[in-house]
Symmetry: C2
Subunit: 332 residues, 2 copies
């Protein structure tokens, strides 16, 4: 096995977030699933955009956000995801390359356009996401750079992308390529709705030992294990994955690796502005620590620090100098 | 003369800002005109975008920003400007309509794309703007809604748009329509480079008595009058326009109306983040006061308050509730 070219290569949705502040009344009026992620079609996307206040566009996508955090921390990263050949596709590609991430998936010609996520941010900083998947759901297995996957220490996959058929097939192929090369596979469960549709797939991946690092929040943990009790969920899942990381918002996070359990409190934040990307950046901090060989408690702390940065401003891509922030907070 | 349907109708560039934080070294390396606005062609725009860090997209355009402020304050507004039939054009149209501004200019088919302004924001909060005018420079006189112009108390024009030929002709036609209807014409000089190219036009408009309210900053005042001394510049220009408003960044602003002179200090700001839109929002606050019949000192203060809000965050569109902010600051 040669030295890895990348620390992390990720396959994920290539999405531009369209973000706007709103009051809770609008969430009710539009019948939105507050705090969740809902897939929307073209018509619903238009209706929601019409109802939305003035917005800002910031590149997003769960795994892409995680990579942006990893890259800011100094990890070598590559991204695989499908944009269309349009202006938002250019925006996505620019933003991910601008932080030093290799991104070579060719844009897809014609309709549908690049994916966008209409995000309504309420005064409690909660984000309500409505995703129009557009081109992103047509990522073909043929777009995978298998050599790149084989040359990355970790293949990182987002559960969101398990829903559409073509990317699901691509991810299965990527898992095979990574494992054949002796690399690790990390997976984030993304959202309870994905588990409701594809929980059997995820449980099978876990049982077959194909997942080395699993990220979930407490809701997803319950959905996957069927255990409503947090500790019972951890106890059920931890023996089946080498590294399990479970976040629970303001209550911090827990990780279990090979029988060792560690916990971290949420990092204090002056003002929580927008929780979009909290889980994505937690994963970034944790994975960067893992790649650098940090102990489990430090990996968790790095996750908490990165998550705290992202929720202190609008958007799911880091704005502060994450590397300097880590050095300051970890005293190193 | 019937009651006006709009308080302010504006003709301006229809631009989406592409904003990114950067260090001063990058400004030097790219040979940018720090603090200024430079027009760029397609190739230069691509090169600058490639060199730019991760960005966020927020609708901009000088007069459009001013209207967004006016609308937030409660003025009835309409905008005329040219976008292309593309995704950034949809973004611009959405954002301006979402704040209650009427915008009916039909998108232009085909190339060039919607205008964008690549804005590099340095740690001193200065913004360096590089504008690719795209479709915006092709606003035809035929696109004007002359009835709407005749039914607005104030026609507001941005000097930036005087540079390309078609919008210049459109603005001349709009001035005629507004004056024929007995309405006021407000004009912002926008940037010294525009004055260097079109100063003779602007001086002629002033001499002919076609401008009722003129906005300038201290640099533009000097460029227009040829007077390096601030007070000499004011003395030279004030007798020729009913209302003259001159901003001078952190030194506040001066207005002279029919012989009366008033001054305002800059409004204190906790942290100046990005000065993009400071002049635009100063004009918004001032014009809203003017429309509502406030005295000159109050108009200036409203300008200062709106400008202070805009420089406290990224982007040139208001984020705070400007109406509430005014009530708080002005004591009701």
């Amino acid at each position: 096995m040669t030295d890895p070219r990348y620390d992390v290569i990720a396959i994920g949705n290539a999405i531009v977030d369209v973000m706007s502040a709103c009051q809770d009344e609008l969430i009710d009026e539009l019948g939105l699933n507050k705090g969740g992620m809902t897939l929307v079609d073209t018509d619903r996307a238009h209706d929601l955009y019409d109802a939305m206040g003035p917005a800002r566009e910031i590149s997003g996508g769960s795994a892409a956000n995680t990579l942006a955090g990893l890259s800011a921390l100094g990890s070598q990263c590559a991204f695989i995801g499908q944009v269309a050949d349009d202006q938002l596709g250019e925006v996505f590609a620019h933003d991910i390359r601008a932080v030093g991430i290799d991104f070579d998936t060719a844009p897809r010609a014609g309709d549908p356009p690049t994916a966008r996520c209409l995000i309504f941010v309420t005064p409690d900083a909660q984000r309500t996401m409505n995703t129009f998947l557009g081109a992103s759901q047509y990522l073909p297995a043929a777009a995978l750079d298998l050599d790149a996957i084989a040359s990355a220490s970790i293949l990182y996959l987002e559960g969101y992308l398990w829903d559409p058929e073509e990317p699901r097939a691509a991810m299965r192929k990527a898992i095979d390529a990574a494992r054949a090369a002796g690399r690790k596979v990390a997976f984030t469960l993304s959202d309870a709705f994905v588990i409701s549709r594809h929980g059997d797939d995820f449980r099978a991946l876990v049982e077959e030992g194909l997942i080395d690092i699993l990220f979930a929040n407490h809701v997803e943990l319950a959905a996957l294990t069927g255990e409503d009790d947090f500790d019972a969920g951890i106890a059920a899942l931890a023996p089946k994955v080498p590294v399990l990381v479970v976040t629970r918002s303001e209550e911090g996070a827990v990780a279990v690796a090979n029988g060792e359990r560690a916990e971290v409190a949420a990092e204090p934040v002056d003002e929580v502005v927008d929780t979009t990307g909290a889980g994505d950046l937690f994963a970034a901090g944790f994975l960067h620590g893992h790649v650098k060989g940090a102990d489990l408690a430090t990996c968790l702390r790095m996750g908490a620090i990165a998550a705290a940065e992202i929720i202190s401003h609008y958007g799911a891509r880091p704005e502060a100098d994450l590397k300097a922030l880590m050095a300051e907070k970890l005293g190193g």
